[in-house]
């Protein structure tokens, strides 16, 4: 349960750092190896059920595929147009195929990273930790939590409004304008009721003595310990090692050129 127990803020910073580093990479090997590493952590170490994982992961495959082919077709002028690979019965410059592959793998590596975070972190704890470790203002933190609490209610309400409007005889929209009006008719009651809910909640919270001051105690306390730093440094180190490895093997590429 090591990954579950890493301080949520540190975990988030780790993910963000990794994303920033990965965004500098334009070869397919580095993100590919990194994805394998993250999968190992998620399924092997954090013991996330792989069936569940696949369910969350699969939508990104569509994005990745879209990225791949459009990057192939709409790529910038290649520097070395002679080397070619044949795909789907057409010749493409090797360079372009590599870049396209890299970018779609990049999407998948981002997805694996955020899933690693989402599947091992209690989201409320993350917000609480932001407040305790990252000086996030309490007014924002508790305001966000109060709003987040409404999400199931708002989902139910959207469903109710839909059927309530059907009873009124609202037809299925045929033109774009009708479509927009219908969207507006759904959105307005939803927005109006959520604004009222928000106001009432604010009053209730202030009635419990909430002022937004940082001077408060915490029921759930989050701390940063050595293990959290080990996680952060370890993750960044692995990514750097992967980058160095593919550099040594001659794969690593910055944008528009090799290192």
């Amino acid at each position: 349960m090591f990954i579950h127990n890493v301080n949520p803020s540190i975990k988030a910073i780790t993910i963000i750092l990794s994303v920033l580093l990965l965004a500098l990479v334009f070869d397919p090997i580095t993100p590919f190896l990194f994805i394998i590493w993250i999968w190992f952590l998620t399924i092997g170490v954090a013991k996330i059920n792989w069936k569940k994982y696949l369910l969350y992961f699969s939508p990104f495959l569509i994005f990745a595929v879209g990225m791949f082919w459009s990057n192939l077709i709409f790529a910038n002028e290649p520097i070395n147009p002679n080397a070619a690979i044949t795909l789907f019965g057409r010749d493409f410059p090797t360079e372009d195929v590599n870049t396209a592959l890299s970018l779609s793998l990049r999407i998948l590596s981002f997805a694996s990273l955020s899933l690693l975070f989402l599947l091992t972190t209690n989201i409320v704890h993350f917000i609480l930790s932001l407040m305790q470790q990252c000086k996030f203002p309490p007014k924002l933190a508790y305001g966000i939590l109060a709003g987040y609490r409404f999400s199931p209610m708002i989902k139910d309400e959207l469903f109710l409004i839909r059927s309530a409007h059907r009873v009124r005889g609202v037809n299925r929209a045929k033109t774009l304008k009708e479509g927009f009006n219908q969207y507006k008719r759904f959105a307005v009651p939803l927005l109006a009721s959520s604004i009222r809910k928000a106001e009432r909640t604010a009053i209730a919270m202030e009635s419990k003595g909430f002022t937004g001051s940082r001077d408060r105690t915490f029921y759930r306390q989050f701390t940063v310990t050595t293990k959290d730093w080990i996680f952060l440094l370890g993750m960044v180190a692995v990514l750097l090692i992967l980058i160095i490895m593919s550099w040594q093997l001659g794969y690593f590429k910055w944008y528009n050129g090799e290192l």
């Binding site: 975990k11 790529a75 959207l158 109006a192 604004i195 928000a198 604010a202």
Partner: protein, 193 residues
Amino acid sequence: MKNWRLKEVIVMATLSVVFGVIYLAFLPIGGVLVGFMGPIGYEPIFGIWFIVSIIAAYIIRKPGAAFISETIAATIEFMLGNALGPILMLVGMIQGIGAEAVFAATRWKIYSLWVLMLAGMGSAVTSFIWGMFQNGYITFAPNYILAMFVIRLISGALIAGLIGKVLSDAVAKTGVLSSFALGKEYKKRKKAA
């Protein structure tokens, strides 16, 4: 955060939830669009990402409303399970800066349709610059990049700016905004009429 009322913050958060829920309903369509059309398929609906900041700024009318609300919206979006994860908070801030810059240029005084549309385009600009970096769009052909950018600008202006304004005005008519800047303005106008 001193001059922010708690209820303003919670309103921004619940608005984010509403659009998050509506947005999630659209997401499968977005996925299919990207699958078939590549990243450009996503651009026409990209403006929905900025709508919360436009609505919040238009309703609350305080310096920082666009920036803070977009940060909140991104955080909520990520809590609701959006797959970009923690990086989304950073993205939200970047988008928020674009819109906030436009409102700042009017010294947070003008909230006409044009300003709202420009603010939507402001978010489009900053978010696009980030997208170039994050998704490596820079490797695409210049024409393709330009097309993406123009579509995103239009989407920012129309979906965030125009629709944001129309929805806010419709909500103001219900009277629930009576303690917010937009609701007060609406009451004044009604009295004058």
